[in-house]
């Protein structure tokens, strides 16, 4: 039976409820919301309320409505208050729309009253007597500092491995990336670092940056005024929901066409067809990993037909052959269009062979993207891409080949243009230089597997769910952490000093001391010796920018749970304790490096970091800009308003590569089949391609939904979309529990029959706490240590009949059938 909330009435916010600006922190789109809070004992009435409307009347479509998921009771300055979080109609990002994620912001707040998010960490915890025991910040930070200081002074900072998020939204943001960045890249120079979703400290889009093109260069409204949307390896209807519904949809309704490159028929394909008509949507269902050949053929056709933007190429791109030679830091040469064409030239027929689509469709795509209109005017095209190629085959060259098309057609920096990644979280990166990390960066998860590193600081990263070769990683990480746990148990009755001695001896004998900063007790957190509770958006002020570089201050309106605090203040606490301990140890000079963390609030961290680089921007000014904020970069402050930048490169000058000449470069993206080691062999050896995909229902916040009844009721186990005939051959019924296995490991999911799936291709939801897809992904990475999570092959076997929970689930098509 479907989950019923059994709620038939909600409290009404009174007219004098406090109102706070909130940017939804779940995804890159950053929709605007308003949070209303008011005292527990007060309420508004049907006629007299904070919304200023007559609630005794049935509201029409798009009317104001508080869904039960938008309500909670939370702590504000120590008092229980009512909370309602509703979408902001005046925010240009979402115009009042919600998604299945953002509309649950209120119910995903921790509440002792309603019992939501009781999984949140509330106290610092230290491994004692065989379990995690709550303690004070002072006690926990003292242990972290003592062990860390001892290890890095005995050895070097290379013995400290740091996994740290680099994003905005969620618990990220400029405050928190600065806090950790200052600690590890300024006070220390840690080079063994990695980012939350990949095993190294690197960009996911090196090539576009090397070409001079920052990856977020447009405005969302470009989708509304373009002629063609060219989407690659992305499924925005599910994953950038209100970007699709509020901007791409308007473009399609205004007559734009859409070209979608994806091996799978996604809901975005289906929905675009519903909106624009099948004749205006071209879905190129290419063979997995063949994107680059397709882009090269499109580029070749455009060049050969003379549809390039010659003035733009002349004025804004490098014209003199090779500019950057291929080397270990550059997996392809970069230079002029003609230079790139020497390697990119691919006929539609050759590409058709490689990609498994019709040559005529490749030509059609080129026409929709670049063929001048009947009246001779140029066609506008906005290009967008995400994990399908970022986590795909030959990351560097494939992304480069796509940016080539946008550059050749002059579609960057212009209205109705842009060539952008769509993104996952919001952005919020402000750190000291990471140049010391090097390029290619160290493959951290392999370093840990090989026994490297002695202390591991983990900032809201769960390698268990977001690494490749995850099965082996988990085995080794657990074993190494257990060496330290055993040592701590054995020295439990000793003094702090004796305990530190025991830990250091254990890490010198192959153990790993793990400190985990997170909002919940994560899976990798099971290996931690110290766990530090963090606050997140809504419980702290947080600044981030969305996928069109729109910077907002999302305001704090509630207390963090228990002793939890913002990551930036945790980092400051670690720094202060490091300074004290190093001084005690007699390392005065080293200790001095940990000065400069006397922050009391997240705003102090913001002023110390982001504000230094962007002196016009302060909390007060951002607050005044409300939910529409300002698009970065901020270029001034006039008439009480921050002045931003609608789209980058409007002047035709490209600078992301740092070149003096400000000329964009083309990428010599020569096709070479599978780039990451082991992929070709695996493809030959196993029956099914295991595509990993996202679902709107728990994209980006799946860890928060582990105990959410509404979500778990829909998908009690990670779904694996399969063609019904493949299921029949394996004697599978809908909802049966299945195991996907190959030489790397195994993972578990629930079979979901899907008519539109191709035979031999299944699509498993990624990042599930209940079934880690990374278990079956081989350790092979693309150059520059970019994981190719998308390409994994395995066999499938039945584990068990559908459980009663799975039997209650709907297995109907997810496609709208109006």
């Amino acid at each position: 039976m479907a989950y019923k909330r059994q709620i038939d009435r909600l409290p009404i916010p009174p007219k004098d409820a406090k109102v706070h600006n909130v940017t939804c922190h779940y995804c890159i789109v950053g929709c605007g919301y308003k949070a209303y809070t008011w005292p527990r004992t007060k309420q508004g009435t049907l006629k007299d309320n904070a919304f200023g409307i007559d609630l005794s009347e049935q509201q029409g479509a798009d009317g104001t409505w508080v869904a039960p998921s938008m309500y909670n009771v939370v702590k504000q300055d120590g008092e229980d208050v009512h909370l309602v979080v509703v979408p902001d109609k005046d925010c240009v990002v979402n115009s009042g729309l919600t998604s299945i994620r953002g509309a649950r912001m209120a119910e995903n707040r921790p509440s002792q009253v309603t019992g939501t998010q009781q999984q949140r960490l509330t106290d610092p915890m230290v491994w004692r007597n065989g379990t995690w025991q709550p303690t004070s910040w002072e006690d926990a930070l003292d242990l972290v500092a003592r062990v860390t200081a001892r290890v890095i002074t005995q050895g070097s900072e290379d013995d400290l491995v740091v996994s740290m998020f680099d994003h905005g939204g969620s618990a990220g943001g400029y405050e928190n990336t600065w806090g950790t960045g200052k600690l590890y890249f300024q006070s220390m120079k840690v080079k063994n670092a990695r980012i939350h979703n990949r095993p190294a400290y690197n960009s996911e889009v090196h090539s576009t940056r090397d070409m001079g093109v920052g990856e977020l260069n447009y405005a969302y409204k470009d989708y509304e005024i373009t002629d063609t949307i060219f989407m690659v390896g992305a499924n925005s209807m599910e994953t950038q929901t209100n970007l699709f519904l509020n901007h791409m949809r308007k473009g399609l309704e205004n007559g734009a066409r859409m070209v979608i490159v994806d091996p799978r028929r996604t809901l975005t394909v289906h929905t675009a067809e519903e909106i624009a008509g099948k004749e205006n949507v071209l879905h190129l269902a290419i063979k997995p990993g063949s994107d680059m050949a397709l882009f090269n053929a499109i580029l070749t056709h455009i060049v050969d037909q003379g549809w390039t933007d010659k003035d733009f190429i002349e004025a804004s791109t490098y014209r003199d052959g090779e500019a950057v030679a291929m080397d270990s830091a550059h997996p392809a040469g970069l230079g002029s269009l003609e230079y790139a064409m020497e390697t990119c030239r691919t006929s539609p027929e050759e590409a058709a062979e490689i990609c498994g689509v019709d040559a005529a469709d490749i030509i059609k795509a080129a026409e929709w993207i670049a063929k001048p209109k009947e009246d001779g005017s140029r066609r506008k095209c906005v290009t967008c891409y995400e994990k399908g190629i970022i986590w795909g085959n030959d990351n560097y060259r494939t992304v480069g080949a796509l940016v080539n098309v946008a550059l050749a057609t002059g579609n960057i920096g212009r209205e109705g243009g842009g060539c952008c990644r769509l993104g996952g979280h919001q952005e919020g990166y402000y750190r000291p230089s990471d140049a010391h990390v090097g390029r290619p960066a160290t493959y951290i998860d392999q370093l840990l597997i090989r026994g490297g590193g002695k202390v591991h600081h983990v900032w809201a990263c769960d390698h268990y769910k977001t690494t490749l070769n995850a099965a082996e990683f988990k085995r080794v990480h657990r074993r190494r952490a257990n060496i330290v746990k055993d040592a701590m148990d054995a020295s439990a009755t000793g003094t702090r000093e004796q305990q530190v001695e025991a830990i250091v001896a254990a890490v010198n004998a192959g153990g790993l001391f793990v400190v985990d900063m997170d909002i919940i007790h994560s899976q990798i957190g099971q290996n931690a010796h110290v766990i530090l509770p963090a606050a997140e958006s809504n419980e702290m002020n947080l600044t981030s920018m969305n996928g069109e570089r729109r910077l907002r201050l999302s305001e704090k309106y509630m207390d963090p749970p228990g002793q939890a605090m913002p990551d930036c203040l945790i980092a400051a606490g670690i720094a202060r304790h490091m300074e004290r301990v190093l001084r005690e140890m007699g390392h005065d000079e080293y200790a001095d490096k940990f000065k400069g963390y006397d922050w009391k609030t997240e705003e102090d961290a913001f002023m110390d970091g982001y504000h230094q680089g962007n002196p016009d921007v302060t909390y007060d000014r951002l607050r005044a800009m409300g939910n529409n904020g300002v698009q970065e970069p901020v270029v001034g402050y006039e008439g009480g308003k921050l002045v931003g930048t609608e789209r980058l490169y409007a002047d035709g000058k490209f600078d992301r590569h740092g070149r003096e000449d400000k000329k964009a470069l083309f990428c010599a993206a020569g096709w070479r089949g599978w780039q990451a080691p082991g992929k070709a062999q695996e493809q030959k050896s196993f029956r099914f391609w295991i595509n990993n995909v996202r679902a709107n229902i728990f994209w980006q916040n799946q860890f928060l939904d582990q105990e959410n009844d509404f979500i778990q009721d829909r998908f009690p186990y990670p779904f694996v979309e399969m063609h019904p005939d493949d299921m029949a051959e394996l004697s599978l019924n809908p909802g049966d529990l299945i195991e996907i296995h190959n030489e790397n490991g195994a993972t578990q999911g629930m079979a979901y029959p899907t008519d539109t799936a191709k035979r031999g291709q299944v699509a498993m939801v990624f990042g599930s706490p209940a079934g880690s897809q990374g278990n079956v992904v081989n350790p092979g990475v693309n150059e520059l240590v970019l994981p190719d999570y998308k390409h994994t092959w395995g066999d499938i076997r039945k584990l068990a009949d559908a459980t009663p929970r799975a039997k209650a689930v709907s297995f109907k098509s997810k496609e709208y059938k109006g």
Partner: protein, 172 residues
């Protein structure tokens, strides 16, 4: 709705229910020593509205209904096979709100795969699985009306499982 059919609703029954409640309140006021207004009940009082008779229903043909009042459209369905939450001799009769719990657009019934679909932003709900959202933007499953069938075969709605779009209380 694809299938338009006039309903024997209950505006009359609804008014009668309201009138009864008012009479109760009036009676209370004349009781000596009870001059204060009656306290609000902890639970919303739903009207009991006759929606139709089983004989009016054809398998897989949706019937338009309104519940708990005329501003809240819904659908009554006989599915032909037992479903969880279904009433009647065959355990196959269900009723749902047709205001999408995302932004309140009207859902339409697809008899082929027995789902309610929203033209607003393409959410869909499975009427054979208790109104579970198959895919969509709503943060709850479809409000389902609690039904009772009497021995004459009259079908009454008497409650609702979830908050109906566009109102702070299911009974306004």
């Amino acid at each position: 709705m694809k299938c338009k059919k006039l309903v024997d609703v209950g505006r009359r029954q609804f008014l009668r229910g309201g009138a009864l409640a008012a009479a109760g309140a009036a009676a209370a006021t004349v009781t000596p020593g009870q001059a204060k207004a009656a306290p609000a009940m902890a639970q919303v009082d739903y009207p009991s509205n006759r929606l139709a008779n089983i004989a009016d229903l054809k398998v897989n043909e949706p019937m338009d209904i309104e519940y708990p009042d005329a501003d809240s459209p819904g659908v009554l369905l006989k599915l032909g096979q037992e479903v969880e939450g279904g009433v009647g001799p065959d355990g196959d009769i269900v009723a749902f709100s047709v205001l999408c719990p995302h932004k309140g657009y009207g859902l339409s019934y697809n008899g082929e795969d027995r789902t309610l679909n929203c033209p607003g932003h393409f959410s869909r709900f499975d009427v054979e699985a208790g109104g579970q959202q198959v895919w969509g933007h709503a943060t709850q499953n479809l409000p389902q009306f609690t039904l009772r069938v009497d021995d004459k075969g009259d079908i009454y709605a008497e409650g609702c499982t979830d908050l109906i779009f566009g109102r702070p209380s299911n009974v306004l």
